[in-house]
C-alpha cells in the first residue's frame, strides 16, 4: 500500500469514526435526557399529592376536627377524633400481636436456623407473604376471627394488621442481628453465658437500632392499610367502646369521606389524609434521621421491599 493510499484510508476511517462517535454521543445524551424525564415523571405525582394534601388539608385542621366525634354531614361538624384514636389502637394491638412473633422469628432465622432447610423455607415464604394482597389477609381475618367470635371486632383488625407486620419485622430483625459482629457472641460464650442469655442480652441489645427501625417502618406501613380493615373493624362514628365492637380508623374514614358527594366531605377527606401522611412521614423521616445513617440504609431498604439476601 502506498503512502498516499494509507493516508487516505486513515482519513476515511477517522471521518467514519468521528461521525460514528458523534451519533453515539447524541444517543447517549438523548438517553440521559430520557432517564431524567423518567425521574421527573415519577417525582411529580409525589410532590403533587403532598402539595394537595397540605394545600387542601391544612385549612380543614382544627382542634375540634382532630378530637371530636363526627356529626352528620351538613351539620357543619365533620371530625376525625375516633379515626385517629382507632388508628392508634390498631397500631398498638397489631404490635402486641405481631412483634413478639416477628422478633422471635427473626432470632430463629439469624441465630438458630442458619442455612438449614426449615430456615430457607421460612425465609422464602416470609418474603412471599410480605407480598400477599392485603385484602386477602382481611378475608382471612374475617373468616378466622369475625366468624368465630360472631361479630366484627377490634381483635380481627389487629390480627389482620399483625399478619402484615410480622414478616417485615422478622426479616428486619434477622438482618440487624446478622450485623452484630461474631466476636460479641464469643465474648459472651467466654463468660460462660448460655446461648439464650447471649442472644437476649448481648446480640439483641446490639441489634436494637436495626430492629426498632424495622418495627417503625412496619408500623408506618400498617397505619396506612385500608383493605383489611373493611371487613374486620368496619368503621364507626363514635369513640372506642370495647374490643368487641366495630371501630374507626383513619384510612377507613378517608375512604368513607371519598364516597360522599359533598364538598365538606372532600375537604375533611384531605384533612384526614394530611393527618395520616403527617404520622407516616414523621415515622419515616424520623427513622431515617435517627437510625439509618449507621446502617447505610441499604440492608433495611432491601428488607422492606423484600429480603434480597438469599442464602
Amino acid at each position: 500500500m502506498s503512502h498516499e493510499n494509507r493516508q487516505q484510508k486513515r482519513a476515511e476511517i477517522r471521518a467514519m469514526f468521528k461521525s460514528n462517535v458523534r451519533r453515539r454521543l447524541w444517543v447517549d445524551k438523548i438517553m440521559v435526557g430520557a432517564v431524567v424525564v423518567c425521574a421527573l415523571v415519577a417525582i411529580i405525582p409525589l410532590v403533587w399529592i403532598l402539595g394537595t394534601a397540605v394545600y387542601s388539608g391544612l385549612p380543614a385542621l382544627s382542634w375540634a376536627f382532630l378530637t371530636e366525634e363526627p356529626g352528620a354531614v351538613g351539620a357543619g361538624l365533620i371530625s376525625i377524633g375516633p379515626a385517629i384514636q382507632g388508628t392508634i389502637i390498631l397500631i398498638g394491638l397489631s404490635s402486641i400481636l405481631g412483634l413478639p412473633v416477628g422478633i422471635l422469628g427473626g432470632i430463629y432465622l439469624a441465630e438458630f436456623g442458619g442455612g438449614g432447610w426449615l430456615a430457607r423455607q421460612i425465609r422464602f415464604f416470609m418474603d412471599v407473604f410480605i407480598q400477599v394482597p392485603s385484602i386477602v389477609l382481611g378475608i382471612f381475618a374475617f373468616l378466622a376471627v369475625v366468624l368465630i367470635l360472631g361479630h366484627f371486632s377490634v381483635w380481627a383488625g389487629g390480627f389482620a394488621l399483625s399478619l402484615i407486620m410480622f414478616p417485615i419485622v422478622a426479616r428486619a430483625t434477622e438482618e440487624a442481628i446478622r450485623m452484630v459482629p461474631w466476636t460479641y457472641r464469643e465474648a459472651g460464650a467466654a463468660l460462660g453465658l448460655s446461648k439464650m442469655a447471649i442472644t437476649l442480652r448481648i446480640v439483641l441489645s446490639q441489634a436494637k437500632k436495626g430492629i426498632i427501625t424495622g418495627v417503625l417502618l412496619s408500623v408506618s406501613r400498617v397505619g396506612g392499610e385500608t383493605a383489611p380493615l373493611i371487613m374486620t373493624v368496619v368503621g364507626s362514628s363514635v369513640f372506642f367502646e370495647d374490643m368487641d365492637t366495630p371501630m374507626d380508623a383513619l384510612p377507613l374514614r378517608i375512604w368513607r369521606f371519598s364516597l360522599q358527594p359533598y364538598d365538606e366531605a372532600r375537604i375533611a377527606g384531605w384533612g384526614a389524609a394530611f393527618t395520616l401522611l403527617l404520622i407516616i412521614f414523621a415515622i419515616h423521616l424520623g427513622v431515617r434521621y435517627f437510625f439509618m445513617q449507621e446502617h447505610g440504609g441499604k440492608g433495611l431498604r432491601g428488607v422492606l421491599h423484600l429480603g434480597r439476601k438469599v442464602r
Partner: protein, 325 residues
C-alpha cells in the same frame, strides 16, 4: 464454634431445658408464617366450596354477576381480566420509568443519587387510600379534560381502544395510578440487581470505548436480565393486589358490564369487587362464598407471581461473579 458451650456436668439441667424451650419457641415463631399460609389457603378453600360446587368452572369463565336472591349467578371472569389488564397496563407504563430511574440513580454522583432514590422510595410510603383520594379529586379531572377527551374526540370513532365515554373513572386512570404506585418497588429492586453486576463488566465495556448508555446496553442489561424480569414481576404482584386506589378509580362496573372493551370504560378488579361488596353480601346466599372464591383466586395469582419473581431475583443477586451467560 462448638455446638454446646455449656458442659452437661458443670451446669444444672434446667439451663439446658430453658435453652431448648427458647430455641423451639423461636422456631415456632418462625414456622408461624408457614402455618398461616397453609391455614389461610385451606380456609379460603373451605369457605368458598359452595360456590365451586354450584358454579364449577363457570365461576372462573362466567360473566354473570347477580346477587339477587333466587337469581344468583356468579362469574369472576370480568374481574380476573380486569385485574390482569390493569396490572399489565400499569407494568407497561411503570417498568420503563422505573428502569430509567434506576439508571439515573446509578449514573448520578452518589450525593445526588441517594436522595433521589430515597424520594422515589417515599412514594411507597404514601398510603393507597391517599393515592385514591388524589386520583379521585385531583388527577382524574385534569386527566379527563386534557388527555381522555382529546384522545376520544380524535380517535374515538376509528380506534376501538379509545371508544366509550371519557369520564375519568376508568381502566386507564386506574392503571396510571397503579403504575405510579409500583414504580418504587420496581426501581429499587432493579437498582439492587443492576448494582450486583460486577465492576469488571462495566469497566470492560468502558474500555472498549462505550458511552454510558452503551455500557448499560452491553454490560448491565444482559447481565441482569433475569433480575430485571423478577423486579417487573414483583411490581406486577404489587399491582395485582392493590385495592383501595383501584377501587376508588376504576368505576366499579359489575358483571358483563365490567368486561373490558375500551380504555375509557368502567371496569372492576378482583380486589375492588371484594372491597365493594364484602360488607353488603348476605351471609345466607352464595354471595359471600363467591367473594371468598375471588379472594382464593387472587391469593393463587399473587402467590404464583411472587414465587416466580423470587426465584428470578434470588438467582440474580446470588450469582455476582463470572461472565455473562
Amino acid at each position: 464454634m462448638p455446638k454446646r458451650w455449656i458442659q452437661r456436668d458443670e451446669k444444672p439441667r434446667r439451663w439446658l431445658l430453658s435453652e431448648r424451650i427458647f430455641k423451639y419457641a423461636t422456631a415456632a415463631a418462625g414456622a408461624y408464617v408457614l402455618a398461616v399460609i397453609l391455614v389461610m389457603a385451606l380456609q379460603l378453600g373451605f369457605e368458598s366450596a359452595p360456590i365451586w360446587e354450584e358454579e364449577g368452572a363457570e365461576f372462573i369463565f362466567g360473566t354473570d354477576w347477580n346477587s339477587v336472591p333466587g337469581r344468583e349467578s356468579y362469574g369472576a371472569l370480568p374481574y380476573v381480566l380486569g385485574t390482569l389488564i390493569t396490572s399489565a397496563l400499569a407494568l407497561a407504563l411503570g417498568f420503563p420509568l422505573s428502569i430509567g430511574i434506576a439508571m439515573l440513580v446509578m449514573i448520578m454522583p452518589k450525593r445526588l443519587g441517594r436522595p433521589l432514590g430515597y424520594l422515589v422510595d417515599l412514594i411507597e410510603a404514601v398510603p393507597s387510600v391517599v393515592f385514591g383520594l388524589w386520583g379521585l379529586f385531583v388527577f382524574r379531572l385534569y386527566f379527563r379534560d386534557y388527555v381522555e377527551k382529546p384522545l376520544h374526540d380524535t380517535f374515538g370513532d376509528s380506534i376501538y381502544l379509545f371508544g366509550g365515554t371519557p369520564f375519568g373513572l376508568d381502566i386507564l386512570t386506574a392503571s396510571i395510578i397503579l403504575a405510579i404506585m409500583i414504580i418504587p418497588t420496581i426501581s429499587s429492586i432493579s437498582r439492587e440487581v443492576m448494582s450486583a453486576v460486577p465492576q469488571q463488566q462495566k469497566e470492560a465495556a468502558y474500555m472498549l470505548g462505550s458511552t454510558t448508555f452503551e455500557m448499560f446496553r452491553m454490560a448491565i442489561f444482559p447481565y441482569s436480565k433475569a433480575g430485571l424480569l423478577g423486579a417487573a414481576m414483583l411490581g406486577l404482584g404489587r399491582a395485582v393486589g392493590e385495592t383501595m386506589a383501584v377501587t376508588m378509580l376504576i368505576g366499579n362496573a359489575t358483571g358483563a358490564n365490567a368486561m373490558v372493551s375500551s380504555l375509557f370504560d368502567a371496569g372492576q378488579t378482583m380486589p375492588s369487587i371484594i372491597a365493594n361488596e364484602f360488607l353488603e353480601a348476605s351471609p345466607v346466599g352464595l354471595h359471600t362464598p363467591a367473594l371468598i372464591g375471588i379472594g382464593l383466586i387472587l391469593l393463587g395469582v399473587g402467590l404464583s407471581i411472587n414465587v416466580a419473581a423470587h426465584f428470578l431475583v434470588g438467582r440474580m443477586v446470588k450469582v455476582n461473579e463470572g461472565p455473562v451467560h
